[in-house]
């Protein structure tokens, strides 16, 4: 699956943590923590990105790996939240 939202999230991670525009540097289902792409500070920055750039508020209890630890997971989470809004 690849759509505009997924691309936007992937590009943000590529640009801010892998410092490249090479899209093969990350798989959409890769664990961001498991692969050492972000640490806990980076995860907070991703949440800030989701809130500021994607316009979706992340509640404290939504800060779980299933929602945030991967490009597809983030995209699914954001899409679901947008639908619910």
């Amino acid at each position: 699956m690849s759509d505009a939202l997924t691309d936007q999230i992937r590009d943000f991670i590529l640009e801010n943590y892998l410092f490249t525009s090479d899209t093969s540097a990350i798989g959409l289902d890769d664990s961001l923590l498991g692969r050492g792409i972000v640490d806990s500070t980076g995860m907070l920055e991703i949440i800030f990105f989701i809130e500021e750039q994607l316009g979706v508020k992340v509640k404290d209890e939504e800060m779980i790996p299933d929602n945030l630890d991967g490009v597809n997971k983030i995209a699914n989470f954001v899409a679901t939240k947008r639908k619910a809004a």
Binding site: E15, Y17, L18, F19, T20, L33, R35, G36, V38, D39, S40, T41, G42, M43, L44, D60, E61, M63, I64, P65, L68, D69
Partner: protein, 501 residues
């Protein structure tokens, strides 16, 4: 003498089924841990001699503990490496301490690169299995291979047990040498003032290659308690839920940990009545945050502590009951530790005057590995010169006022500006670079690099950060990269880093 290893063996004899370490789905009992330590010792008996260095590239896990204490039980010296570092730095530290053997997690992202970096240098990488399931202990022991049982050796209090690398420039790594006596005495004192008992279940998110994390490991295992490992703090809500659901009685964090918990969780919504104590070390926590943490966890005793790797871990702590009256203090010296605040000529300064905090006691390191010159500067007549500026009030309570040296503290990790400057200087197009710390709301300090580009060259921020990512641990990548026409300097030509922030 009684070492951490003998304390673990004693705990295994007293109550072998008691849980020692939990990691994901695995829980290792004291009997399993003691058995695995012994297996590591047997495996090393034919490979290393007493005093040989053995490096560990293993993340926090029961397997780390088995390998670490196994190396010690074999009479060798454990060198726990920072698993966040890149292969280049890891290889330099391995070569610096002269380790011929590395016990490594074969799934580590830098494993292959490290093997290549060490190719032809006479260093063996022994891959170990790190399985985070119930079969973990068995798989780990199997990956060691079969070895005859070795003769038991007794360990000398004054002999070298481990080397912990702290920040240093790439050309001059700083390996802090700690003896068996250093580790055992500091662990016993910490376990004593925290009142750690076998019934305790303590959650540790701190890496073991870092002296605070290492002290949590040593003090809990020496006391026969149950240590529960947390891989990361990316999901603070998950962490707090674990504190509640698993009935955690003790928790160790650094200021950034508590900033995260206070900012991103609703501590009041959880039942944390089992949490008996919380410890904070790894840099000064702002006073409002101390008060907010205590208000959010009214039932837990909050220990504010201070120390450094060169003092094994701990030098002082503040009794929770003194927190109101002595807010901002790091407390009193540990029993058996003498502390003086001195002026540059070495004289003790009067109360309330600022000077360098110097310490003497059984926790003071043996020195820096292979660096007699630096050791002689830092340890003089048995006194450790911490480089921290401090003062003492009329009641003897100590307050930290800053650092003498230009070290950046990101979260709780010390970062040498020179190390980053050296890496950036190798980037084509960079003529000059200076690195400094800048204030950061969460981490206390973040890293800022200011670059003067070569004429005609136009390096961009992304390529600068990509270069850093390839050569430095993630937390050492500058958050801000700026370009300037020149660097601020003193009249003598020295770069004034503080003017860059």
């Amino acid at each position: 003498m009684s070492t951490i290893v003998t304390a673990i063996e004693d705990a295994a004899r007293r109550n072998g089924d008691a849980p020692a370490l939990s990691w994901h789905k695995a829980t290792w009992s004291y009997a399993e841990l003691a058995g695995a330590i012994n297996r590591v010792g047997d495996a090393l008996a034919t490979k290393v001699n007493a005093g040989d260095r053995v490096a560990l590239l293993l993340r926090n896990s029961p397997q780390f503990a088995a390998a670490f204490y196994g190396v010690l039980s074999a009479g060798a010296v454990a060198v726990p490496l920072n698993v966040q570092e890149r292969a280049g730095v890891l290889a330099r530290q391995i070569e610096h301490c002269g380790a011929r053997l590395v016990l490594a997690d074969a799934t580590h992202v830098e494993f292959t690169a490290l093997r290549e970096a060490l190719d032809g240098k006479g260093v063996t990488l022994l891959p170990l299995e790190l399985v985070d399931a119930a079969s973990g202990c068995e798989a780990f022991c199997a990956s060691l291979g079969e070895h005859p049982v070795r003769a038991a050796s007794s360990l000398d209090e004054g002999s070298l047990a481990c080397i912990i690398y702290t920040s240093g420039t790439t050309g001059r790594p700083k390996g802090v040498m700690l003896s068996h006596g250093n580790l055992a005495s500091n662990a016993r004192i910490i376990a004593g003032y925290l009142g750690i008992v076998p019934a305790d279940k303590v959650l540790c998110p701190l890496p073991f290659h870092f002296s605070y994390g290492m002290s949590v490991l040593n003090s809990n295992l020496a006391a026969g308690a149950h240590l529960v490992l947390e891989d990361n703090l990316a999901f603070p809500q998950v962490l707090v839920k674990r504190l509640q659901d698993e009935g955690i009685t003790g928790f160790a964090g650094v200021p950034a940990t508590f900033a995260l918990l206070l900012g991103r969780t609703q501590l009041a919504d959880f039942d944390l009545s089992g949490l008996r104590y919380v410890t904070q070390a790894g840099g000064a926590m702002p006073r409002p945050q101390i008060l907010a943490l205590r208000a959010a966890l009214p039932k837990a005793r909050l220990f504010i502590m201070y120390g450094q790797t060169e003092a094994t871990a701990r030098l002082t702590f503040l009794e929770p009951e003194d927190l109101d009256e002595k807010l901002g203090s790091v407390g009193l010296p540990l029993p058996g530790v003498d502390i003086e605040v001195r002026d540059p000529s070495g004289r003790v300064v009067p109360d309330d005057a600022v000077g360098e905090l110097c310490a003497r006691g059984p926790n003071v390191m043996m020195g820096y590995w292979d660096d007699a010159e630096l050791t002689a500067q830092v340890v003089r007549n048995g006194w450790l010169h911490t480089g921290d500026l401090a003062h003492r009030d009329g009641d003897g309570y100590l307050y930290i006022d800053g650092r003498e040296v230009e070290m950046i503290k990101v979260g709780a990790f010390r970062v040498s500006p020179q190390e980053i400057e050296e890496v950036l200087a190798t980037l084509p197009g960079v003529q000059e670079v200076a690195v400094t710390g800048m204030p950061d709301a969460l981490l206390g300090q973040a890293i800022k690099a200011v670059i003067v580009a070569r004429e005609g060259a136009t390096p961009d921020v992304m390529s600068v950060k990509a270069h850093c990512r390839a050569h430095l641990a993630q937390y050492k990548i500058p958050k801000v990269v700026e370009f300037a026409a020149e660097l601020p300097r003193t009249s003598s030509g020295k770069v004034q880093r503080y003017k860059l922030a």
